[in-house]
Symmetry: C2
Subunit: 482 residues, 2 copies
């Protein structure tokens, strides 16, 4: 039986201005995790969140995560964890939600039209401010949902466990071990029946989506060195074996002009696309014009929606990011760099095991370099690796979320993947052994990580309804796992 | 008849400490032309030079060169020009000498073992200090030669014209037009019969050389752009045509692994090597061990002295310097750069006309890019161009210098070229229409432009003798031009 959500929804609407004010207070705290001198603001934001939830009767804890690796004078901001209601109701499901209270750097001089740490709402309801959509809006969405239940006098439908971190924009330092530890039996997150993360975006601006897959990423360096020091091309050009020439030749073998990866054996690791899967892509609300708009030009590889979506979500890709050690400034410098390091990464998909990818990459790069017969030295290594993630969208966690979307937005959500990675997703899946759902609040035009980040008022307010409704549908879903 | 130089040489030896002290005073003035805040020190150094020569009775002028292009608040340091003796002796030849009184940047923290702006002499007579060899030592060589003639009571054998600039290490801003103007009939440099520049180095450490050729340099940029802004490789990898992939493919077509330029038609522009010319390379005092030492490793293209020398002096070369706009830092960044600019340059030799090289380069790069069928945009342009220079080493200017070397050092000098360019050489040749000689004072280990720059005491003192002796032999050479 569908839950009756009317009074909850009405209360959200009636308190919209207060909820926007709560977001305004949060945006005003410049909790930039990448800047050491802002560390106190990150902590302040964590404390703000904790006190808001405590005021609503939640049990909250600020858990220290130790010193920042490589900056031993700097304490990491705490993980803010909590439980609502305070006492677990054994008759209800337990849902673990995650968000982050830190933000990307921002400064007016970067090109912001408004002060980045003042919430500025325009006449179309676009609420500009750093962190508005990533991820303060969604995090406060859970706070607002709790408050609206209280004000509406509606029983909270689940046991809610919360995990909010303050280092997401700087590599989630210290968090993985913490999550793994707290998901063990008897620990804080042990009882989670499912996980919900609201930290991504709709594919477009009109249609909500549920996200069930992410690509992984293996990031590599190729270092080529020879001369004892940087050389002048006048003196040594034509006589020194130039590392840069070798590197360009090796990098040239990695990917063809259409983006096809040239590493032998790599495509064999990719799970074959099934007919059923292929049909999923046809109905998704996405057009090539959307794509061209986000790309800022028409320089796409494909001119077809399905191929483009599959290129982003379903197939691996290889990008050449740049070269360290070569001349990279403006103007002209006649240097022969002594040591250059090419950077590239491969976005991975099922069933590419990260270490199998490494093996194929090393073999390919070694062969490519050996074939040059160069007197220079080459070294190739993995900088970091994060695995792909795919959840079952037929799980009750997803079907509940889909019903909530239909109730709030009046449409069935698209089932999407993302081309990028959200590493904490995989950590939660592995640590809890439960289904993880990505339930975005903001839209594709929100400009997270860019200047003029915003969250639309509509997405915020309806998003609060959505998070609450999701918990009600979760409470009603049959217990069998899909 | 060989001039009697004995009393001149003895006087140089007798005044060695005073000449070293003069160099110490010059090194103490940090005349760094690249640093705006040091501009007053550059001017101070010019004035020091002017006053030293005035004290010896020379006619000196400090000629303004106008504002620095692009930095209109900054006056360029003056050209210090002069004539010695004050009144021209019409019975004597007139020799125009050039040097520069500015230096490269230097700071102790860069790794200097001594204070860069204090002349520090070790027990092997190595005189460390910024500018010691480039180019304050050689410039003061002329001053010391004049003083030694006066003290020895030896008649100065020529009319000496001097041109000392203060912006050589920063592109010789403003100098070309000045030289061209002052070489016109009736102007300051109009009467020059030949030109001598002491601003380069011996090929090794033991054998002096005369330099008669320089390679030119055409420096190019290839810009490839597509997306409207930098992209995240998670979101756009596999769907955007990446400018970096295109650029690496285009750069890969420019030069092969052995340094052979792959631009069609370019090698046809190179003057064929004659048998006579080839024999010149055999006797030059240079070994592969010298080369490996300067390279700092054994990663050479050739393992043979003649091929290495010809690769440096006689053939064109192409170096890939780097990429602007791509990720160039340490660590990992998953960016797809929206616009990348590859930088490369070609060292040119006779008879490669710079504009013919441009035409071939543009055609090659366009074809390479077109063959990709990419949706990105490409633009290739010349950043700057400087022509090669080759003088006749049979000219009396060279034979006089060769005799002076034999007199001072007891050996016949090697006739060398250089792989790099000294643009002012070509300017003097074209403006005067006369033979230009490069007569180095320092040796290959002097580390001009590096940390721990030095000039050996022996090279300085014998170098003063050499400059004076050269003027005496010049005075005696038959007037016919070779
Ligand atoms: Zn986020
Ligand atoms: Zn973010
Ligand atoms: Zn110099
Ligand atoms: Zn220099």
């Amino acid at each position: 039986m569908a839950p009756n959500l009317d009074s909850y929804f009405k209360t959200v609407d009636a308190n919209a201005e207060a909820f926007i004010d709560r977001l305004r207070k949060a945006v005003a705290i410049p909790s930039i995790s990448a800047e050491d001198e802002r560390r106190q603001d990150v902590v302040k934001m964590g404390m703000f969140l904790k006190s808001q939830l405590e005021a609503l009767g939640a049990h909250m804890e600020a858990r220290p995560l130790g010193k920042q690796p490589g900056k031993e004078h700097l304490e990491l901001p705490p993980a803010i964890i909590g439980r609502y209601p305070k006492e677990k109701d054994e008759s209800k499901r337990t849902i673990l939600v995650y968000g982050h209270y830190d933000v990307q750097p921002a400064a007016k001089v970067d090109g912001w039209r408004t002060e980045p740490f003042e919430l500025s709402i325009d006449d179309k309801g676009r609420m500009y401010g750093r962190g508005s959509t990533d991820d303060k809006g969604p995090v406060l969405g859970w706070v607002n949902a709790i408050e609206s239940h209280q004000k509406a006098g509606v029983d909270f439908p689940v046991n809610l466990l919360m995990c909010f971190e303050g280092m997401e924009e700087y590599g989630s330092e210290g968090l993985d071990d913490f999550i793994v530890a707290e998901c063990k039996p008897g620990k804080f997150f042990a009882d989670a029946d499912a996980v919900c993360i609201s930290d991504n975006y709709w594919l477009g601006t009109e249609k909500p989506c549920l996200t069930y897959g992410l690509r992984g990423c293996n990031y590599y360096s190729i270092e080529i060195s020879g001369p004892g020091q940087d050389l002048h091309s006048g003196v040594f050009g034509g006589t020194a074996a130039e590392p840069m020439t070798d590197l360009v030749r090796v990098m040239n073998t990695l990917v063809d002009k259409d983006g096809n990866i040239q590493i032998r054996g790599l495509s064999e690791l990719v799970a074959p696309v099934t007919k059923e899967e292929e049909s999923l892509y046809t109905n998704i609300a996405f057009t090539m014009d959307d794509f061209y708009e986000s790309l800022g030009s028409k320089s796409s590889i494909f001119e077809d929606k399905k191929k483009t979506l599959m290129g982003r979500w379903r197939y691996p890709s290889l990008s050449l990011h740049g070269i360290e050690g070569a001349f990279s400034g403006a103007g002209a410098k006649t240097v022969i760099p002594a040591k250059v390091t090419g950077k590239f990464s491969i976005r991975t998909v099922p069933d590419m095991e990260p270490h199998e990818v490494d093996t194929l990459v090393y073999k390919h790069v070694e062969q490519a370099f050996d074939s040059l017969g160069s007197k220079n030295k080459m070294r190739c290594w993995l900088q970091h690796s994060g695995k792909w993630w795919v959840a079952s969208p037929k799980h009750w966690n997803f079907t509940a979320a889909a019903k909530a979307v239909e109730k709030v937005w009046g449409v069935q959500p698209d089932l999407t993947r993302e081309g990028g990675s959200i590493p904490v997703t995989l950590t939660f899946e592995q640590a809890t052994g439960k289904n993880v759902l990505l339930l975005p609040m903001g839209s594709s035009t929100d400009a997270a990580h860019s200047i003029n980040e915003k969250l639309d008022r509509r997405n915020y307010i309806e998003g609060i309804k959505l998070l609450g409704a999701y918990l009600h549908y979760v409470a009603e879903e049959p217990m069998k796992e899909a």
